[in-house]
């Protein structure tokens, strides 16, 4: 018997019980659809974080405060501010292969102009921030060393903030109130379009670090010097990242009078390590989501097997008739296998289209909500979903099909 005939027989018998066929397919549709959606959303999230990180420049080392001995999430909650501006200066002066150093302290603040008021993410830093973290200005200028030295009340607005406060107007030269204190807008940053942990890169404002410390949020280290949260270090190339990390560790340990290894009150992380960590988390997330979706695929495949078993029992006489007129075992096997494969394949195709549509909706709505998750359905996911659904069809069809093929013709004919 030729394939085309088996195919026609399978289509006919599936078509003869449309409601049942479509309900069976529904299991696979939901399974494949959720695999596609969850995998592509997971990938989209990963991609958006990675591209944001890359947009910040790759030759970067971050230094953050940490309480020695406290690890994991707890460390973040109780981060002491052990780093200081003079630490940053010392790194810039004394560590070889360092191109520039930007001390950073971050916080939320209310920014207002006239009647408009928005919440912004403050980046308190020095002029080096502009090129260390790759934030060129679109209009006006970035903060300068003089602004830092004299604690000037100046600020550079992220493009979203400028847009929110001033609409289409030129923000440069205008005044804004940050936590109630008046600042002059000296520049507007270029739009970056990325986001990091839910914070848009365009919803930040930059102020001189000294101004921040003296007038906005005065904070003190344990040793009584002006505290900063992080230091971003630009290095010559990624190759020297490890050497520079070691040098910085040595320098800071000396400055912080740390004698024992493992008791450091700071944490050094290269861009590569950060990327690896984030990819690990998002990758894990993707796998987890995929695993959850696979469970619904499994349920779908059990549905197919169940229906195929019912179908074999119901059609025992039909099998007997086919055998009586000359159908061989493999003809019957092929017929039932094809039916199962077609059920799951067509379910898979509909599931792919559905999953693709849902991914598109998620992308669109998340973009509208300001969190851009570019949930792209890539070919490898589609091919994976199709092969998985055919595989499921074959696996769940093989047992019922073998039962059908093994039937003795006369017993099958006499089946009531």
């Amino acid at each position: 018997m030729k394939w085309i005939e088996s195919f026609i027989i399978a289509v006919r018998s599936l078509g003869s019980n449309k409601l049942r066929s479509s309900l069976t397919m529904l299991g696979v549709i939901i399974g494949v659809g959720s695999v596609i959606t969850l995998m592509s959303v997971g990938r989209g999230a990963e991609k958006s974080i990675t591209s944001t990180l890359e947009g910040m420049g790759t030759n970067l080392i971050y230094i953050a405060s940490q309480t020695p001995g406290v690890q994991g999430l707890a460390a973040m909650g109780m981060a002491s501010q052990s780093l200081t501006l003079s630490d940053a200066e010392a790194i810039a002066e004394r560590v070889p292969s360092v191109v520039a150093v930007a001390p950073i302290t971050e916080n939320y603040a209310e920014v207002a102009a006239g009647d408009e008021s928005v919440a912004a993410f403050i980046e308190a830093t020095t002029p080096e921030y502009e090129y260390v973290l790759n934030f060129p200005t679109e209009y006006g200028q970035f903060i300068t060393a003089r602004h830092v030295a004299s604690r000037d009340m100046v600020t550079v607005l992220g493009s979203d903030i400028a847009e929110d406060l001033f609409g289409g107007e030129d923000a440069v030269g205008k005044k804004v109130k940050i936590n109630g204190r008046q600042f002059n807008v000296i520049g507007v940053l270029e739009a970056k379009g990325g986001q990091m942990m839910g914070i848009s890169m365009d919803a930040i404002i930059v102020v001189p670090i000294t101004t921040y410390q003296a007038r906005l949020f005065p904070g003190q280290t344990v040793r009584g010097e002006d505290a900063i949260q992080q230091i971003a270090v630009q290095i010559e190339s990624t190759e020297v990242a490890d050497i520079v990390s070691a040098d910085i560790t040595e320098l800071l340990s000396q400055r912080h009078r740390i004698t024992e290894e493992g008791k450091e009150d700071f944490l050094i992380m290269t861009q590569e390590q950060m990327m690896g960590m984030i990819q690990q988390v998002t990758g894990l997330l993707t796998v987890l989501l995929g695993a959850i979706a696979s469970i619904s695929l499994l349920v779908g495949s059990i549905g197919i097997m169940n229906i195929m078993l019912v179908s074999v029992t119901e059609r025992t006489r039909e099998i007997g008739i086919r055998k009586a007129v000359g159908a061989k075992r493999r003809d019957i096997l092929l017929q039932f296998l094809l039916e199962a494969a077609m059920l799951s394949l067509s379910g898979g195709v509909v599931g792919i289209i559905g999953g693709w549509a849902v991914s598109w909706l998620i992308s669109t709505f998340s973009a509208a909500a300001g969190i851009s998750i570019d949930a792209v359905v890539s070919w490898d996911i589609v091919i994976l979903a199709i092969s998985v659904s055919v595989f499921i069809g074959l696996v769940s069809g093989i047992y019922p099909a073998m039962r059908a093929a093994r039937l003795n013709p006369i017993d099958a004919l006499h089946y009531e």
């Binding site: 018997m1 086919r322 055998k323 009586a324 007129v325 159908a327 061989k328 075992r329 006369i410």
Partner: protein, 234 residues
Amino acid sequence: MSPNKGMIELENITKIYRMGDVEVPALRGVTLNIYQGEMVALIGASGSGKSTLMNIVGFLDKPTEGKYTIEGIDVSGLNDNKLAEMRNKKIGFVFQTYNLLARTAAIANVELPLIYGGTGQKRKRAMEALERVGLKERATHKPSELSGGEQQRVAIARALVNDPSLILADEPTGNLDSKSTVEIISIFCRLNQEGITVILVTHEPDVAAKAQRIVRLLDGKIVEDKKVEPAAGN
């Protein structure tokens, strides 16, 4: 084939059904030769083993013991695939209950053996077969839209579509009224005249009378095997 050599040779065929511990002997040593071109009526009381014998002759079932040769081929040496091929090519089976595929047009039912036989021009050959039983106009009708007699004619068309040398009919008129019975039997007679060997199980004496030979079974044994004089006005 020499006229003395049987097309079908059954030698001491027994068939025992096992139902748990109980053994039911359905055939107890049947020896029978059927010749090319014969029309044989198989008669006997219910439970005498007629269907069992037909199923064995049609490769639908295997004997417990005994030797079965068809056209010189020993059937016991054939595997499942070969048996399926023999059912497809050599034999047309007609059942009391028609055994048509439900929800499937008459023409598609007739095509069925050709699907497994792998020959071309299926539609055309199926149509010719339907024409031979006078049902060309009903080709697209489903079994549920046909009368019993018409369904049985579709079944006969299916049996003869692959040009078998043997047609086995197990009580083909058992479910039919007398008018349909006459039609069906006349089709078998015509097919027999065209050279096809026909074995027919029946309870009805007038049906059996149309055959050239009557074999009577009783409790799994042949108790009578006689030639019939051609009836007048056949």
